[in-house]
């Protein structure tokens, strides 16, 4: 642990705090938090995971703020950070084969949220989105929910515009089929209950 808490890092931290523009940067970051949480919720399966993702993204944004180019979109830059961290986490999970454990753990903590969502009829849509591939989920959230153009979404994800277009189309078709199938199942169940 001693190497983890490296003394040599303290001066750079002090220098960072002394920068008067830090407050302005933080304000912009805070203003983006609701949208970052929404984007992260679309990527991660649960509210807890999503907030952890946003927290990690904030930390990274602060440490790499010098990489942000004024004049470019701040939201796109942050979305890219969130997406990158999320992909890293997915890869790490695959290696550790933790998917099942994490899912079980979070189902419990999110139970009240899930109940409310179910009541509002949102749970099914979110579950269907969770079943999409990570690539499709990302572009769907960026374009459909966050309102980025195809070109902006392509820049965030680092793929050609045509790829964004095809992922979006496949995502919406998959959702439409999934939700239609769910509606058909409910209808059958309701008929049998009568």
């Amino acid at each position: 642990m001693s190497s983890h808490w490296n003394e040599a890092q303290a001066p750079s931290d002090a220098a960072r705090r002394a920068d008067p523009t830090n407050g302005e940067f933080a304000d912009r970051l805070i203003a983006m938090l609701p949208r970052l949480r929404r984007f992260a919720r679309g990527l991660a399966g649960t509210a807890t995971e999503a907030d952890d993702l946003v927290q990690a993204a904030c930390e990274r944004a602060l440490t790499r703020r010098h990489q942000f180019q004024e004049g470019t979109r701040f939201d796109s830059w942050l979305f890219r950070i969130v997406q990158t961290i999320w992909i890293d986490q997915l890869r790490a999970r695959r290696v550790r084969k933790e998917d099942a454990e994490v899912g079980d753990e979070h189902l419990g903590s999110d139970a009240p949220v899930r109940r409310i969502e179910a009541r509002l009829g949102l749970a099914e849509v979110r579950r269907a989105i969770e079943r999409l591939s990570p690539d499709q989920r990302t572009v769907l959230m960026l374009v459909t929910v966050e309102g980025l153009s195809y070109r902006e979404a392509a820049a965030v994800v680092g793929v050609p515009v045509g790829t964004v277009m095809s992922r979006l189309a496949r995502a919406r078709i998959a959702l439409q089929q999934s939700l239609a199938a769910g509606a058909a199942r409910r209808s059958t169940t309701d008929d049998q209950a009568r």
């Binding site: 705090r17 946003v54 930390e59 919406r172 239609a180």
Partner: protein, 289 residues
């Protein structure tokens, strides 16, 4: 060039086609009822997706995320918040230092854990057997407590993962000076308990936010990975006193209690047996028991 098909319909819906492509898709839709049905279905899906995440923008943002966004720069702003001032009660003169304060070693913690867990279990049992959950006030308190614990766990994870980047006041060689500095930005004086008998070294302090007011997160490190790192969050609270209670959030253990307007949470990945022993030590040192 976009050919007719789902991609064209989706791009049309998103307003991503140029004028000529738009006209072509519009003509196709006018001539083909099946394409119109397909378009309607895709438009419906788009609305469902937007609706599924619309409410998140209205949710209150957790304090831990605001603190994370402020990073180390949070100090000045948080300190200016309208904060309730709570003065730490000094230890009564001549009050005996508990024997276990100095006498306990890490090896003895397991035995202590058994003893203390008995107490904690009794407390928890009484909670369960006591009056049932009452009205909205209790629910609000429970919710506030829940958020507090989430934040404490979040702060811990953030601090550990960021190495020293988020330490506002490194302890360096003078822990007291470090605490003096951070206390100037807090509504109350904070002292760092001495946890050297546990092999824990005070690393520094961060200014965080708890119950909307500035609070201190004291960070302790050790080479013993079975114990550290640990953080101790100390903040002002309006909630009622509560006995030490164990919780677990997202892979992190917490032992929290409230005493005379102050809330404490000892946070780490150490076994709860260690946490019990260390928290007990802290409570004696800070006169928070």
């Amino acid at each position: 060039m976009i050919k007719h098909g789902d991609e064209a319909l989706v791009a049309y819906l998103d307003g991503e086609l140029d004028e000529s492509e738009c006209e072509r898709v519009a003509a196709w839709l006018a001539a083909d009822p099946a394409a119109r049905d397909r378009m309607a279905a895709l438009a419906q899906v788009t609305e469902w997706v937007r609706g599924a995440y619309a409410d998140i923008l209205d949710e209150p943002v957790p304090e831990r995320l605001i603190a994370a966004a402020r990073g180390a720069a949070s100090s000045d702003r948080a300190a200016t918040q309208d904060a309730e001032i709570v003065v730490l009660r000094p230890r009564a003169a001549g009050a005996p230092m508990p024997l276990r304060r100095w006498g306990i070693g890490i090896a003895a913690a397991a035995a202590l854990f058994g003893l203390l867990l008995g107490g904690g279990g009794t407390y928890l049992g009484l909670r369960l057997l006591g009056p049932g959950p009452a009205g909205a006030e209790q629910q609000v308190a429970a919710q506030a407590n829940d958020i507090w614990l989430d934040n404490a766990a979040g702060y811990y994870k953030l601090t550990v993962s960021a190495d020293d980047m988020l330490i506002d006041v490194p302890a360096a060689n003078d822990a007291n000076a470090a605490l003096q500095k951070i206390s100037q930005r807090l509504p109350q004086q904070v002292r760092a308990p001495d946890l050297k008998p546990w092999g824990l070294t005070f690393r520094g302090a961060r200014l965080v936010v708890a119950e909307g007011r500035p609070a201190a997160e004291l960070v302790y490190v050790t080479d013993n990975k079975a114990i550290g790192p640990l953080s101790l969050v100390i903040g002002a609270t309006k909630l009622a006193d509560i006995s030490p209670t164990i919780d677990h959030r997202d892979g992190v253990n917490l032992l929290y209690w409230r005493h005379h307007g102050r809330a404490y949470a000892l946070v780490g990945r150490a076994d709860v047996g260690y946490l019990w022993g260390i928290a007990n030590d802290i409570a004696w040192q800070l006169d928070a028991i």
